[in-house]
């Protein structure tokens, strides 16, 4: 199964090509920790975005907090800009249930009221539980519920997708 997944870097390039024609100069790219930040960093470079990159850790907004508690390693969210009235491109690695994206949007709105939010994901694996769909997806596949797609980063910065 592992070999059947495309190369992550190829997918990111494909994603960047799809986003490029729609990207306005004032668009802010925001990645969701941890995998989404890796993808957002690449897109930020490929798209030659002049705005600073934003990062979100949605641990404080998760809807399963009361069941699983606080993630032991919460990273600070870093949005080095005023997002009031701005266009946001929200980036995550894998779209599954949509709950992470919902939490991320809730958090974004606590910083201000963006003009628009679009969603770019490396992989849309299906299994959505909320009315959330990506505006851009590098790969759209259907993966059974008991399996997970993971993005990992090697020491040299190389990104790899695995199915387990």
């Amino acid at each position: 199964m592992h070999a059947s997944l495309p190369d992550a870097n190829t997918l990111i390039a494909r994603l960047a090509d799809a986003i490029a024609p729609t990207l306005t100069p004032d668009t802010l790219i925001v990645g969701i920790h941890t995998g989404g930040v890796w993808v957002a960093e690449r897109l930020h470079g490929l798209l030659q975005c002049a705005q600073p990159l934003g990062t979100l850790d949605i641990s404080f907004y998760r809807d399963d907090f009361s069941r699983i508690g606080l993630h032991p390693q919460v990273k600070p969210s870093n949005l080095p800009f005023d997002l009031e009235g701005r266009a946001i491109l929200l980036v995550d690695d894998v779209l599954h249930t949509g709950r992470t994206v919902r939490a991320a949007m809730n958090e974004l709105f606590d910083y201000g009221r963006p003009a628009s939010i679009r969603l770019a994901v490396l992989v849309d694996r299906g299994g959505h539980e909320l009315p959330i769909r990506p505006d851009f997806a590098g790969l759209t596949i259907t993966v059974p519920d008991h399996q997970n797609i993971n993005l990992s980063r090697l020491d040299d910065g190389h990104l790899t997708l695995t199915l387990a």
Binding site: Y61, G69, L70, P72, P76, E84
Partner: protein, 317 residues
């Protein structure tokens, strides 16, 4: 059995820093760090504790501690009820548990407890239902763990590390729950030299067994310190036979710019508040460039948010 931790080692209640594992303390400090920016947002809240009820149960007066617990709970979107329960001479153990039972019947999720009796929070923690957490907000002379934690957070913010520091705690260690919590945290975090400085009448006998060096003289004790923590001298101590007068105390143990100059040039000055200016600390020092006393108050909110978030996450597991 450790009442503070669950079987799998997560925080269940916060009652004392004595014996609290280093990993838990570091987790609290790291979590607090990530809460630091919440106070600077457009919406100064995160939804973590939405729908939870937190009761501030204060059997002893407090302004700063109660207020920062209240702000912390509100920034986590919890509902907060403040109860200031005057302790009459009739108040007995049973009466406290009656109060707790009544509040539990109102579906409390967490109690923040301040009491003049050592062990009060512990006593309540033993009694409550499994889904309720208890935070000790100061019990007698015993412990004030969130103050100790916010002091560690402050030290880490200004000094970065703990393993290379010399820290002095100055004043009435004997009656201070804050000092006890600080000493436990500093030694757990690996501070190589923790000093206590004060007159013999205000240092507990056998305090060396807590892993501290004892000094009765400010000149010796402050030399080479990275952090100077001043303790509040309670006025009632003067009325007893422990001290001659406030002026006399200030002369020997009050922190003046001249005495502070004996510590390292970049030493920071801390105080848990409320301060007695001109008794344990001179105004020039309290308001001076080395003072981090007001940042301590701000950090106290993030640290209390971290503790409450970790407890709420554990209580419902």
């Amino acid at each position: 059995m450790n009442l503070q931790l669950t079987e799998d080692g997560r925080l269940r209640h916060l009652l004392t820093l004595d014996g609290l594992p280093r990993a838990i303390i570091m987790q609290i400090l790291d979590t607090a760090e990530s809460f630091m920016d919440v106070g600077e947002r457009e919406v100064k809240k995160v939804p973590l504790l939405r729908g939870k009820s937190i009761f501030n149960l204060f059997f002893e007066p407090s302004t700063r501690t109660r207020t920062t617990f209240e702000i912390a709970a509100k920034r986590l979107s919890a509902d907060v009820v403040n109860l200031n329960i005057a302790t009459s001479s009739q108040t007995k153990g049973e009466a406290i548990l009656d109060t707790v039972d009544n509040l539990a019947a109102m579906h409390a999720d967490m109690f923040i407890v301040r009491h003049s009796q050592s062990g009060a929070a512990h006593f309540i923690a033993q009694h409550v239902a499994p889904h309720i957490s208890v935070v000790n907000a100061g019990d007698g002379r015993h412990a004030h763990p969130t103050q100790g934690l916010l002091d560690m957070f402050t030290i880490r913010r200004y000094k970065g590390e703990f393993h290379n520091l010399t820290v002095a705690i100055v004043g009435d260690v004997l009656h201070s729950r804050v000092a006890r919590s600080q000493i436990h945290a500093l030694t757990t975090l690996g501070v190589p030299e923790v000093r206590v400085i004060g007159p013999k009448t205000l240092l507990p006998t056998g305090v060396e067994q807590m892993g501290v060096k004892v000094f009765h003289d400010m000149e010796d004790g402050l030399a080479g310190c990275d952090v100077v923590i001043m303790l509040r001298l309670q006025n009632e101590r003067m009325k007893g036979a422990r001290l001659p007068s406030a002026q006399e105390y200030f002369k020997f143990f009050g922190l003046t710019p001249e005495k502070l100059a004996l510590a390292k040039p970049d030493a920071i000055v801390m105080h848990p508040g409320p301060m007695n200016r001109g008794v344990e600390i001179a105004s020039e020092v309290a308001d001076g460039p080395q003072s981090v006393i007001l940042p301590q108050v701000t950090y106290g909110i993030a640290v209390r948010m971290a503790v409450m978030a970790m407890l709420a996450g554990t209580g419902n597991a």
